[in-house]
Symmetry: C2
Subunit: 239 residues, 2 copies
């Protein structure tokens, strides 16, 4: 059985300008791996409508799922919901179900549901809301695109809301052997090893610290017994 595939689309000028580091990619990657959904591509684009629309179209056609982060708040630069609607040619406006969630939230906190906040209730027709237990303003899924906030605590809560509703596959397991030898010495026997295990994926991730050269050899696969057997052999090869 092949696992479902996924792409992530990060909408974020602030990452492309070097102002901040993204925290959501690493979180989503780990969660999808556990769920048996293969994250195959990530794209980061700026807060530019044509770029967002083009990326959504390209990725949603190619992968089982697309997860987006960023651009669904109340400010003028929050344009993701409108871009998703445009990508699928869906009508978008303030939707009653989302408005009711926000109204209840702001009534409780004594704040006004003003025009800006109401922007967060703009949801495309046909979309299913994604629960936001942190700050109420919902994400949404339209077809195979899951639209989530950029603030890490909210992003993580939305991932926790949506993931159990998706059909996963077999989790990809991985084991790592750390070898303190230059990759040039490892490469020959490692290539032979990889050829002997065509059902496993074998990667070498070099490091270099304080003048010491080495590599983390990572073996990935879905069958725990095959993986254990391979790792035992790998340890013998580089003993």
């Amino acid at each position: 059985m092949t696992n479902p595939t996924a792409a992530m689309l990060v909408i974020g000028d602030e990452i492309l300008s070097g102002r901040t580091r993204d925290a959501n990619m690493h979180h989503l990657a780990g969660q999808l791996t556990k769920a048996g959904i293969d994250l195959t591509e990530i794209r980061i684009v700026s807060d530019d409508a044509p770029a967002i629309v083009a990326a959504v179209k390209a990725l949603s056609g190619r992968y089982s799922h697309v997860f987006t982060s960023g651009g669904i708040g109340p400010t003028h630069d929050d344009i993701t919901a409108d871009c998703i609607a445009a990508a699928f040619d869906a009508h978008i406006d303030v939707r009653d179900d989302a408005r009711a969630l926000l109204q209840a939230h702001y009534d409780k906190s004594g704040q006004e549901l003003n025009t800006a906040r109401l922007r967060m209730a703009r949801i495309p027709d046909g979309a299913v809301l994604i629960d936001n237990p942190v700050s109420t303003a919902p994400g949404f899924s339209l077809q195979n695109v899951h639209v989530m906030a950029g603030v890490p605590s909210v992003f993580q809560a939305m991932v926790a809301s949506i993931l159990p509703t998706l059909t996963g596959g077999e989790p990809l397991l991985s084991q790592t052997l750390r070898v303190v030898r230059g990759e040039g010495d490892i490469a020959g026997p490692l290539g032979d090893f990889a050829n002997r295990y065509p059902d496993l994926s074998v990667g070498s991730y070099p490091f270099q610290k304080d003048g010491v050269y080495g590599a983390n050899l990572v073996v990935r696969g879905k069958d725990v017994n095959a993986l254990d057997a391979a790792m035992a052999e790998l340890a013998r090869v580089f003993a």
Copy 2:
């Protein structure tokens, strides 16, 4: 004058699987911003030849420069150089200039330039080598694609080698005002402010920590005087 544009292509199974966090995007983003080259898109793809070739073709056609990281070491999963050659239909083999660099390096350290290490001298015809003062094995530029290592210390050294050779534009300057108010309260006046300064880019990056809601308001532009004047007004708006 418009600045040159750039995309980054990260080749890395280990990031997509959630095993490691990428460290190179943030570094390159900061360096390009300083150099006046607008980083407009980042893609992360797995160690998969068709995916790498397709991304190189798409990005090199669209942007002034493409910077890649990862996949140029000596192991079986290092396939970037061959993919770049394929993307440009260029011949690739062990090249004398790269081999000479490696031979001198390994002679000095008393290590053997074996078949695996010689893989790092595979350079496409027509490419210009990128100096690697850390560990010798060179990167290369083929047309507008600059191919660099994934190990952060080496990546950074290669960026330092290549950037001074590229024509930059006017650096994009940015200033930040931190406002401890919910984005829903900020959004109206911020949108009006952004409309008054069409030559500046105005972004709101919300945060939420220990129950406190706020946003970093970031204004970007190339003219330091215009930026200073705008920031003074922004401070008055949210005083």
